[in-house]
């Protein structure tokens, strides 16, 4: 078998050449993450739990998953997933709920249940996305989904660049027009040229905060880079390299330090995981950098941000969080004061932590922090055997998804990332890609292997 050949078991009935509704719904969900201001869209119809648009989409996916499971009984493929694929997620959810159960008196006495309820609803939505994507995606679908992520991120980056240049947020404006019969859309928080007293510009793309759009672009960058690296001809390689350059420009134009840090760490993660692959693209990267500096020096304003006075104040704010968290940590060292109790609107009692790890330590304690780290690192352990796979279906998407998960881990140290849903949804999508890349698929009729365990084996080429 040639190195670029594809196992017919893996490629049969794969998205986008499939009538299975779930992969199409998942693609639509990805498009919503990158193109719609999901946090700002509020449905005009009342839902049982929440009228937020992302919860509605997740509920739709869950219903479709259940219905498909009941209707389609004859599966053609059996998937063997690697051991422990859900361990990180399960540990985090268990610790989160335990922290709530043990702090019930405090949470209800301080009237925090309403906020906790919303955070738990988001956590359940995240779990649902992770589980359903993991159980639904096929190995042959990973590459098309990698392409989709890279294309969507390129569109997001272009829209963000346009937002910076024109002051108009296309994502919010378009969503407000298109969804007007069914949903209301909050106005865009875009502020391209604010007064000095108002702080730094707010270039947010489809999100509510510049750091959030920077995160999703940084997490999507590995997909464009990997596609460039494995492109079969020069034309496609150049096109994917251009897409990667646009994604980097979109992240940089938000004028946040994270616009430099997150993409840089995503590339560094790829270099550590697969140095040869990235070195192949080094000449394109250097040429692109020189061209970008020559053509649009303003795009690199993130670097100037490092020395600005209000940027230094942001650093001081971050360091001030450390001593301020000590009383809460000492009061509840193991399970914290309860998942979801950190309420950014109660500024007199709660600090806005520019670091998700600190926020988790406060809310779910030391055990929760370990579980949160496990949640981020578990996909990397799961996917490690698929990273160097020669299969074009597994190796490249696995590498991109692993680097994306690491980028999420870095972004978590830069702001309260779970407060903005896009990046967590994308993280769990890429974590699911890691699990799928490490899974084995066999025809359902073929007797399953005996007990030796699911050592995920790459397709032989």
């Amino acid at each position: 078998m040639r190195a670029d050949s594809v196992d017919p078991v893996e490629s049969a009935d794969a998205w986008p050449r499939t009538r299975r509704p779930l992969p199409w719904l998942l693609a639509a969900f990805l498009a919503a993450i990158f193109l719609l201001p999901i946090k700002a869209i509020h449905l005009k119809i009342q839902m049982p739990v929440s009228s937020d648009f992302d919860r509605f989409l997740v509920a739709l996916i869950v219903v479709a998953w259940v219905v498909c499971g009941l209707v389609n009984r004859g599966a053609t493929v059996v998937r063997r997933r690697p051991r422990g694929w859900a361990a990180g997620m399960a540990a985090f959810v268990l610790v989160a709920v335990a922290s709530i159960a043990l702090n019930v008196d405090r949470i209800t006495n301080l009237g925090e249940w309403e906020v906790v309820q919303k955070r738990v609803a988001l956590l359940i939505a995240l779990v649902a996305v992770f589980v359903i994507v993991t159980l639904t995606l096929r190995v042959a679908e990973l590459r098309p989904f990698a392409v989709l992520i890279a294309v969507l991120a390129t569109i997001t980056a272009l829209g963000t660049i346009y937002e910076k240049k024109s002051g108009h947020n296309l994502f919010y404006d378009t969503a407000a027009i298109v969804l007007s019969p069914a949903a209301g859309v909050d106005p865009a928080p875009t502020e391209v040229d604010p007064e000095i007293s108002q702080g730094r510009p707010l270039i947010v793309g489809p999100t509510r905060h510049p750091l959030s759009v920077t995160s999703i672009l940084g997490m999507a960058l590995p997909f464009a880079v990997v596609l460039a690296a494995v492109a079969p001809d020069l034309r496609r390689r150049l096109l994917w390299a251009l897409a990667a350059a646009i994604i980097v420009a979109g992240a940089l134009i938000t004028q946040r330090k994270s616009g430099v840090v997150i993409p840089a760490f995503a590339l560094l993660a790829m270099f550590v995981l697969q140095p040869r692959l990235l070195l192949r693209l080094a000449p394109y990267g250097l040429a692109g950098l020189v061209l970008a500096v020559a053509a649009a020096p303003g795009a690199f304003s993130s670097f100037q941000e490092l020395g600005r006075a209000d940027s230094q104040a942001s650093v001081e704010g971050r360091t001030a969080d450390y001593p301020a968290i000590v009383p809460d940590l000492l009061t509840n060292p193991l399970l914290g004061r309860g998942y979801g109790t950190l309420d950014a609107t109660r500024v007199d009692t709660d600090r806005i932590f520019d670091n998700e790890y600190l926020g988790q330590a406060l809310q779910v304690g030391g055990l929760g922090l370990i579980a949160f780290l496990a949640l981020i690192l578990a996909p990397l352990f799961v996917v490690r055997s698929a990273l160097r796979s020669d299969s074009p279906l597994r190796g490249p998407p696995a590498l991109a998804a692993a680097a994306s998960c690491l980028a999420f881990g870095v972004a978590s140290a830069l702001y309260d990332i779970l407060s903005f849903p896009q990046a967590p949804y994308l993280f769990l999508f890429t974590a699911a890609i890691c699990t799928c890349a490490a899974s084995e698929e066999v025809p359902a009729a073929e007797p399953a292997r005996p007990l030796r365990g699911v050592r995920p084996e790459p397709v032989r080429v």
Binding site: T108, D348, V454
Partner: protein
């Protein structure tokens, strides 16, 4: 499809799933109740509470707000001072007497200045330590002060609506009594006396009714799902221990 196979696998082990449901039920009950053994009792851990609010206006005897020639700035300064006083132990004792509650059951916080940027309002470690000490109190008062208005906002929390309204109403009454006693003692002329007025009656209602049920339901679902997830590796280990072969592992179905 996978979900049908998972359900079938769980149905085959329905006795263990039923045991899991029992464990989840116990966990749910324990999460929202305190259990006493001698004598056997079940006491709710969740606090249904009510809130009420009112506002205190610091004014002049002839009301500065109906006469355009009056400056309100001195009154704003006084409102700030009174807001600070209201969180002091002396003021809490007066409020407790007005509301007919024990003073040590009341926790007062503030004054929080409105219109400040968040980073100036965020609590330091010392402030947070004080807040943590008072988090267990059932009767809570919170004062907010807008530096541009001679008004102190009072927010009260108590286990019932009536108690919350009584606590909120007690704050302006206690402050008025305190200020009037000082004015009497100092023989302050009637025309130069500060007037403490209550802006309307305290209003409120029950806030988190049903929280206990929701928390118990959440715990039940998560424990049951966790139990079902644990059945998978447990079954694999058990089968490995017995040396069974030739059958797909449950782990393959999850």
């Amino acid at each position: 499809m996978e979900q049908a196979r998972i359900l079938r696998a769980l149905w085959r082990r329905r006795a263990l799933v039923a045991l899991g449901a029992l464990v989840a039920l116990v966990a749910a009950l324990l999460s929202v109740n305190r259990v006493g053994l001698f004598p056997p009792s079940l006491e709710a851990r969740t606090n249904v509470f009510a809130t009420a609010s009112t506002q205190i206006l610091v004014d002049t005897p002839s009301s500065a707000f109906v006469d355009l020639s009056n400056e309100t700035e001195p009154l704003q300064t006084r409102a700030g001072v009174f807001a600070r006083f209201l969180t002091s132990p002396a003021a809490i004792a007066l409020i407790a007497r007005e509301a007919r509650l024990p003073a040590d059951a009341i926790e007062a916080q503030g004054p929080y200045e409105q219109n400040l940027p968040p980073f100036q309002q965020e609590p330091s470690a010392a402030q947070r330590s004080t807040q943590i000490l008072g988090e267990g109190a059932l009767y809570r008062l919170r004062f907010e002060n807008n530096p541009e208005l001679p008004i102190v906002s009072v927010f009260a929390q108590a286990p019932s609506r009536e108690a919350a309204i009584a606590l909120a109403a007690a704050a302006p009454a206690a402050l008025r009594g305190y200020v009037e006693r000082i004015q009497e003692r100092q023989h302050t002329p009637a025309g130069r006396r500060v007037e403490i007025r209550k802006l309307g009656h305290a209003t409120g209602g029950v806030v988190n009714e049903g929280a206990g049920r929701q928390i118990a339901a959440l715990v039940f679902i998560v424990v049951l799902v966790g139990w079902c997830l644990l059945l998978v590796p447990a079954q694999t280990i058990a089968r490995g221990w017995r040396g069974e072969k030739g059958q797909p592992r449950l782990g393959e179905l999850n």
